[in-house]
């Protein structure tokens, strides 16, 4: 009988040795003269257990991890009947507590299937969503997305269905779908995992969007820092085209839709939607003033539905299983699930998809297990480099858009970076301003110049020069950035700066807050 073994091809799994483990499995199987089928999957997202290897047994798949090449001979010697006894055996993947507690909708197939097998994709529910959309028709498809309550997962949280309706209702001879895969926020990797682990989900989501709004062309804009994701997405688009899922009669649905993969060139600001459109058009990635909205006048001046990759990847499941099921999950006005990404100094770093509403403390302490090195958690930054730093006193904040906004924070793209008690929050505040200076597109003055003046002022504070006067300047500058910038880069840089200053004043030479203070 053929031995079936699954090893991730995900870049983060490769970064910790998955290729070496895969090679060792092939070598050992040859030595033992075993018939082997090695499937390279995406990652399940339990990165402290990577490289995590799965073996098909009579009781389904069993997981092992973290596996090194040296563990391979003992694993293969046991084989499927006895592998359960291997010291690295984690049991069935779905029974691992970190996975068992999740509600995987967007990531249902990631880590399970061969990402480049269309047959695998279909066998795991793929293209059911498009089939239902075709049966409903374009207008009802949009209304289904509206009723699901889906909001943009890139950070702005704008209702996706409303955006699509606007694009569909704007008269034009051409419309576009743009998938924003310029995932530049530190602490986030959900887009990357999906592109590498379930690319046809992205393609199906974009195809449904194209059908719904009447667009025949879609672009995926992927950052150049993701070479693996670029390769997999390009190959998946070629496969989809060759099999008729994309093209003049996409998925035999009677409409034309095709996708082109575009690669960024190392500019963080191109994750901002109007800057991304400029870049796609072949210009400097400088933001556009809004209005006009991209939904009215977007790519090459045509109505454009520009959505984050995670948003588009939610769509097939919403259509396949109905808006009510998706809307039935979540909290407040944040409906459905969010793929939370735990990163930095965290014991159980990985992807945790769950309905909105868990508290920050549950996520960091219970699910993440605290820091990787066992020191106390002092601060977490939520939502990337433009997100606020939260102290432990705010760990009761529920993970939803409005609750975070009420605490002067943002969810962003769902990344959480954990820091231990050695972190210097004044240095983190300085980094936020420096990053803004480094990545500013230069179009508006507060961001272009304010970020540099802010970095210089923070340097004076760090040297202990006229600390109170300079802190007052920082607060004033943050007001200007917040309200005077054209886009979120300048506009949100005050979040990390001001949250660091407010919650960790002792790091800025101010008196420490009383423990109970909030």
């Amino acid at each position: 009988m053929t031995l079936r073994i699954f090893v991730p091809r995900d870049a983060a799994a490769r970064a910790v040795g998955a290729d070496r483990v895969a090679a060792a499995i092939v070598t050992e199987a040859r030595r033992l003269d075993l018939a082997l089928e090695l499937v390279r999957t995406g990652s399940r997202g339990l990165f402290w257990l990577e490289p995590m290897v799965e073996m098909e047994t009579g009781d389904g798949r069993l997981a092992f991890g973290p596996v090194t090449p040296a563990d391979v001979p003992s694993l293969l010697a046991l084989g499927p009947p006895a592998a359960k006894a291997h010291p690295l055996c984690l049991g069935r993947p779905d029974d691992i507590p970190f996975l068992k507690r999740q509600t995987r909708i967007t990531f249902a197939r990631c880590g399970v299937i061969d990402p480049l097998s269309l047959a695998d994709y279909r066998a795991h529910g793929g293209y059911r969503g498009l089939a239902r959309a075709l049966a409903l028709g374009p207008a009802a498809t949009i209304e289904e997305v509206v009723r699901s309550g889906l909001r943009g997962r890139g950070g702005a949280g704008f209702p996706t269905g409303i955006k699509w309706r606007t694009v569909a209702e704007t008269s034009t001879d051409r419309r576009f779908i743009v998938c924003n895969a310029d995932e530049g926020d530190s602490g986030t990797y959900a887009d990357r995992m999906l592109m590498e682990g379930d690319p046809f989900g992205v393609i199906e989501g974009m195809t449904i969007a194209g059908f719904a709004v009447g667009a025949s062309k879609g672009f995926v804009y992927i950052r150049s820092e993701y070479p693996d994701a670029i390769r997999v997405m390009r190959e998946a688009v070629d496969i989809a085209r060759a099999s008729g899922c994309l093209g003049a009669d996409a998925a035999a649905g009677g409409f034309a839709f095709d996708i082109e993969i575009r690669v960024g060139a190392g500019a963080y600001v191109c994750g901002e939607e109007t800057s991304l459109l400029e870049s796609l058009e072949g210009r400097r990635g400088q933001v556009r003033a809004k209005p006009p909205l991209p939904a009215h006048k977007g790519l090459f001046g045509h109505p454009t539905a520009i959505n984050n990759l995670l948003t588009l990847a939610c769509v097939p499941a919403i259509l396949a299983d109905g808006a009510e099921r998706y809307a039935g999950l979540g909290a407040g006005r944040s409906r459905g699930t969010m793929p939370i990404q735990l990163a930095g100094n965290v014991r159980h770093g990985g992807l945790f998809e769950t309905p909105f509403g868990l508290t920050l403390g549950e996520i960091v302490d219970d699910i993440g297990g605290g820091t990787a090195n066992g020191r106390p958690v002092r601060a977490v930054q939520v939502g990337g480099p433009l997100g606020a730093y939260f102290p432990r006193t705010l760990f009761d904040t529920p993970f939803d858009y409005e609750a975070f906004a009420a605490r002067d924070g943002l969810l962003g793209h769902g990344g959480i970076v954990v820091f231990d008690d050695r972190v210097d929050m004044a240095r983190q505040a300085r980094f936020a301003l420096d990053f803004c200076a480094l990545e500013s597109c230069g179009k508006c003055t507060p961001c272009r110049i304010g970020s540099i003046r802010g970095t210089e002022t923070m340097d004076r504070i760090l040297r202990g020069e006229r600390v109170e006067a300079n802190l007052a300047l920082i607060e004033d500058l943050c007001q200007t950035l917040r309200f005077g910038s054209l886009c979120a880069l300048g506009g949100f840089t005050p979040y990390p700066v001001m949250s660091a200053l407010r919650h960790f004043p002792e790091d800025f030479g101010r008196p420490r807050l009383a423990a109970a203070a909030d």
């Binding site: 060139a265 100094n345 480099p385």
Partner: protein, 163 residues
């Protein structure tokens, strides 16, 4: 065999080759970035004659093309070393002692950020997030991802790049 030392020299500008690259993108909308990427793949940087050449081919001004080339960090005015190591300096890697380890790696090769070793074997650059944030600190050596960099990393990298 090519000498390693010559790796940092630009590949000589070759107009027919550039014309072929531009031709491959005929009809593509917003083709400037894809063309520049392909030119850089062929010439290891954006050579100065490429700017007027591309401007002419796409009916743009030289200023527009120059503006794009200089806006994006990926486009190089001069070739990088034989291997390029991108070290992540963003928050998730900072939280895992990434700055200290990055400094040790730079010191191991006698480089500052963006520098190239005198033998042209290695360029070390800063990057801000590689999406490997649960395996921090992280790096990308050419296109190979490396996670959980530790104090052994400087010597391991030296063996890998052969310097």
């Amino acid at each position: 065999m090519r000498q390693i030392g010559s790796e940092t020299l630009p590949v000589a500008w070759n107009e027919p080759q550039a014309a072929e690259i531009v031709r491959r993108h005929a009809g593509q909308e917003g083709a400037l970035l894809p063309i520049l990427r392909d030119l850089q793949a062929a010439f290891r940087c954006i050579p100065p004659p490429a700017v007027p050449f591309v401007a002419d081919a796409l009916n743009l001004t030289r200023a527009e093309v120059h503006g794009v080339v200089t806006f994006y960090r990926d486009f190089r005015a001069a070739p990088a070393g034989h291997r390029v190591l991108k070290l992540c300096r963003a928050e998730a890697c900072q939280a895992m002692d990434g700055e200290r380890i990055a400094r040790r790696i730079l010191d191991r090769f006698g480089l500052e950020w963006g520098g190239t070793t005198p033998d042209g074997r290695l360029t070390v650059e800063a990057t801000y997030c590689l999406g490997l944030c649960a395996c921090a600190p992280a790096a990308l050596l050419d296109e190979v991802p490396i996670g959980r960099l530790n104090d052994a990393a400087p010597d391991e990298l030296a063996v890998e790049v052969g310097t």
